[in-house]
Structures are given as structure tokens and as C-alpha cells.
Symmetry: C2
């Protein structure tokens, strides 16, 4: 299939992580999911305390090998990229379930997101 | 943000559903996730009996309203599109956790997928 799919981000992530870090370290911190203001009506019904799924783009992805060591650790066995959550994958899309801590206008404060600062956000869905 | 993200499908879905149907009806049936043969090595480590997340493109999406009735039922209250799993959304990406029934070459037989026949598959990840 040669079809190409084009997407336009609905917003972006803001947090303290400009460089790669352990996913658990990032998830422990609060991130802001800043949705474009003209899409704010799309958030109607989302509430603090809920879990939502955030779909985002690994904008710092470095291309991919079809087989990789888990966490890039050469002591780990090699697995196929589709058996791993590595950001270095054919379509560098991340999907994470997060807890909504607060919603203010078109900004969601969340905990549990493992995206780097500036990651384009593609979608938000009920978890 | 005006950036545009381009993705190339890694494969496509094959099942009996060419037209929209109740998600539960589709999920109850077996679908085939046909991964491009040149990506087969990326499946290494996936096994029958496991749950995986399938990320796919709603190729029959009809555009979107920011507020929609759940399941398109006018008797349901209106919610923001990001509080719904409607296929009619700004970036029509579906994410579903499925059970792998069988893997043969680069084809995964799965149960639990709610994608229509021909849906482009963007990613497969551990659930």
C-alpha cells in the first residue's frame, strides 16, 4: 500500500522533559496537554479524576530497526518493534492512559503521560 | 501549530464489515491484521493468547463536529468529541486492545477489533 495519511496535531504536551528519560520518571510528573483553543468545545464532558487516553507523536523518534533490545539495553533479548513500546517505530505514535487532574479552558493537567515536552498531540479519547 | 504529520500504514484489516456496524458486533468477530510482509520481523515475540493494542485509521470517517451525540443517537446528550470514541474526529485514529488468536507469517488473527474491512493499520504495541 502506498497510501499516505496526513494528520494535523490538535495540541501539544508541555512538561519539564526536553530529553529522553525513563518513562516511569516522566509519568510520575504532571504534564499539561494544551489543546488548540479552537477545539476546546471538543473537551466537553471530560472531568478531573477521569482517565483518558492520549495519542501523541514521538517527535524525537530516531527512525527504527525492526528488531530492538528492550529499552535499548543490549543485555535484553531482541524483540520485534511491534512487541515493544519503543518510540523508534515505523509510525512513531504513542498511546498512554493518563489521569486528568484538572481542566482549565483547553488545557488538561494530567499525570501518567510519558511524552516529552513539545510532543504533538493527535487525539484524546475515553480510556 | 501548522505542522503536518505524515504516516504510512504498516498493513490493513480484513474482515466481513464493509459498512458501519455496532462496534460490539464487529468486535465479536475474528479480524485479520495483515502486516506488510517486509515488516514481518517486527512481529517477533508476539504470541497467540496475548493482548495487543492495534492503532488504525478510520478510513470511512466523515469529518467531525466538536460536539456529538453518543453513537449518533439524538436522544443521548451531546458531548465533546474527545469524550467520545466516535470515528468522526479531528484525527480519525482508532485504538483497540485485541486478543491475538493466531499468528501466521505476517498475519495476525485477532478478536476484539472494531475496525472496518480495509482499515489502514498504523501500529501494533503491547497492550
Amino acid at each position: 500500500m502506498d497510501e499516505i495519511i496526513t494528520l494535523t496535531p490538535i495540541g501539544h504536551v508541555e512538561n519539564a522533559f526536553d530529553e529522553r528519560a525513563e518513562p516511569d520518571t516522566i509519568r510520575a510528573q504532571v504534564s499539561r496537554v494544551v489543546v488548540d483553543a479552537d477545539l476546546q468545545a471538543g473537551l466537553l464532558g471530560l472531568q478531573a479524576g477521569e482517565q483518558v487516553m492520549v495519542v501523541y507523536y514521538f517527535h524525537r523518534s530516531r527512525g527504527f530497526d525492526l528488531r530492538q533490545h528492550r529499552r535499548g539495553d543490549p543485555l535484553e533479548p531482541e524483540l520485534g518493534v511491534f512487541a515493544l513500546r519503543s518510540p523508534d517505530r515505523p509510525n512513531p505514535i504513542g498511546v498512554t492512559v493518563v489521569e486528568v487532574l484538572e481542566i482549565e479552558g483547553s488545557v488538561l493537567k494530567v499525570r501518567g503521560l510519558d511524552a516529552l515536552n513539545g510532543s504533538p498531540v493527535l487525539d484524546i479519547k475515553p480510556a
